[in-house]
Homo-oligomer: 430 residues x 2
């Protein structure tokens, strides 16, 4: 029972992802039609540079007027792959006003102002799907929104940025420093010329906001996410991690508080045990670990970026949205009914690995231990190493609120016998 | 906008999974209502032993007459967790006839006669969801049916039976033999009193049939799946695997042929490299590795069995099916449009690891190598070890059709200089 009038799809953006979406729509047209129940037709492509040669896309479909395209009124689904907040937001809301459903890969916009998009979709009875916004090809948004819709998710912890994972993996494997590993990532095309969004954790923080909102059925915005980049991770940190049977990953961690009354979302480098499934995620791969009350511990793994993987996620959404159009139905919209507040980083319960340079004389450990005790932070292990009047002290704490832990570090800095705090790293995944 | 008339759900079966579904429906009623958009009400529970105490389930809901329950006509969703082919099949088709949608965890029935269920669902415009039938809580059916609906899946390879993975992991870790490891699994509750369905690969074969059908959009039945159990895997096999940098797993492998014109599905023990993501799946965990044209290599990992994990999958489906009822829509039904045939095992391209006991005299290797050449099988590596007139010869082949490989082994058995074939194991994941 195949409908013959095709569903019309328009692309906003035709870069690495958009051109791959267009290519697959053409080369796999029969499969897509069979799976949707109607053919899909590329009805327009909005681009910035109309003169660029775009293989396989008829010239008459190309336009520079994205606004006119979303206002056409005959488009069933808009695929937005231009990224950034504006003009994407206005184009998407305009698309909804003119009857289209939307598939987007725009993590920045969803993290900054997902609510506006959801509301516009809901108001006009249209779909907003965005599997490609987080962890590329890895099915993650749909499993969280749908497969686990009958469960209670307590934690989502993942490697959601391939660039930084490539750099950290290179540092771990070769013993290289940060800048050397960054150079390698840049040379191989894993890092952009300006790597700030990746290495400072902005990209991962946007994904954390999206994941936390979906996992906990509440609204979490980019500003709610605590963020630390990984530019200060050193070869010495990796050596310390190895001594503990750990490696270092840049993690996005979304957690429900123990009392269930609030949630947290954060991005920072952390030591995790080598036995943890996330520890063995190599190169630019992504992986997300989910803990749910009934399901237990799940992990989703795959390529987190790239034209083809991202296009796979976009096309999966496209098939679902097209089916919904044929059914005159919509998929699940925003679910933010819990309205759980987002707590600040100080309330997150975690562990610290602290390396101190201290004077090599009796009583230093007692002094340091007193500072921990005064802040209510319990010590798990201490390792002392001394030479020539200088010594280093490595302390790993038990779990405590981040505010108590960072307060401890501030107090340690003020001790006469502490020459400096060589490094601080959180320890997760235990 | 919450509808107040509740959706009525009936349970067929109230064992480990069913009772957990009932419990979560009660304890998480508000969350389920918010996510569905209407409350859900447990409207009946069909059991075999009505006298058993079932905490939290009102006695008046209990019935032994499952047929009357599915015929009631006021039930929105039937959750079938009794397992086995009959009476489950008749109950499910009757439920569709009387207007209910169905959530099932019944891998045996789906593998044996999924077509009948799909057709009944389609004829009556109702949903058939079965995430819980494969790999417990791991979201897998929905990602394959929906997230990857715009992609072309070429291979699904997984550990889909927790009992056998526990046994193999124990053998790998402790050097124990099969029966010792089985005893441990039984003592810890990971293996049933009669472990046949697990250790002989029947359970995994049912899951392979379901996965292959969905992945390749065709019909694959249990009888189409080649099956070898893992009862003959020995400690010596693990020692050989280690020497190759491998471990041994019972794998379910569904593949599209290189020419794209047919598919295969099989279950057997195989050596896989330690660097493969499936190699590190420990204890009773499940994991499924998926290779798709655009998405690349994905992996899904989690608990493959148990009351709570399976209930999580059932409830995720329940939420989706209830939403569809409210929308007066249905989710994706059967997709078997490719009608790709299933090829026999002989056509599967794989590699063999063969251990031979041979006479320790000159010329044996030449003789053995000639047999391989005559069957068109190319040798990757050979390792010879001799002592006291006896010797062993370990041959690892390059990729060849299974028929050529098994033909080679038959011919080797006939050589005078070959005293016996100590073991044969396929090598996968490279």
């Amino acid at each position: 029972m195949m409908r013959t009038r095709p569903l019309k799809v328009a692309l906003l953006g035709c870069g690495v992802v958009g051109s791959e979406v267009a290519r697959i729509m053409t080369t796999h047209a029969d499969d897509l039609a069979a799976r949707i129940g109607a053919p899909v037709e590329l009805a327009g492509v909005a681009v910035r540079r109309p003169d660029k040669v775009r293989e396989g896309i008829p010239g008459e479909l190309i336009t520079t007027d994205a606004t006119a395209l979303v206002k056409r009124g005959d488009i069933d689904v808009i695929v937005e792959v231009i990224g950034g907040v504006e003009p994407a937001r206005t184009l998407i809301t305009t698309a909804f006003e003119h009857g289209a459903s939307v598939v987007s890969a725009n993590k920045a916009l969803l993290a900054q102002d997902g609510a506006t998009l959801y509301e516009a979709a809901d108001q006009h009875g249209r779909d907003l799907y965005f599997e490609a916004a987080v962890a590329g090809a890895i099915p993650l948004i749909r499993p969280l929104r749908e497969s686990l819709a009958g469960d209670k998710i307590n934690r989502v912890m993942g490697i959601v940025n391939g660039t930084t994972n490539f750099i950290l993996d290179a540092m771990d494997t070769s013993g290289a420093g940060y800048s050397e590993a960054l150079d390698e990532a840049t040379a191989l095309g894993y890092a952009e010329a300006d790597p700030t969004a990746d290495v400072e954790g902005f990209d991962a923080a946007a994904k954390a906001a999206i994941l936390a909102g979906i996992a906990f059925h509440t609204r979490v915005r980019l500003d709610d996410v605590y963020r630390e980049g990984m530019t200060e991770v050193t070869a010495a940190d990796f050596a310390s991690a190895k001594r503990m049977g750990c490696t270092i990953k840049l993690l996005a961690i979304c957690e429900r508080a123990a009392d269930g009354e609030s949630v947290t979302a954060r991005v920072h480098p952390a030591m995790i045990p080598l036995s943890h499934p996330l520890a063995s995620v190599r190169e630019a791969y992504n992986a997300v670990f989910v803990e749910a009350e009934a399901a237990g511990r799940l992990m989703f793994y795959g390529p987190g970026a790239g034209g083809s993987p991202t296009a796979s996620a976009v096309l999966g959404d496209l098939v679902a949205v097209c089916r919904n159009r044929l059914n005159e139905a919509t998929g699940p919209g925003e679910s933010a009914y819990t309205q759980l507040p987002v707590s600040p980083m100080g309330e997150v319960v975690t562990r610290y690995h602290i390396s101190l340079d201290v004077a090599d004389k009796p009583g230093v450990l007692a002094q340091v231990a007193t500072v921990f005790a005064e802040h209510g932070v319990s010590i798990d292990t201490v390792r002392q190493q001394g030479k020539d009047g200088e010594a280093s002290l490595v302390v790993v704490t038990h779990r405590a609120p981040d505010a108590a832990l960072s307060g401890t570090v501030e107090a340690l800095r003020k001790l006469d016998t502490v020459r400096g705090v060589a490094s601080i790293m959180r320890v997760e995944g235990e």
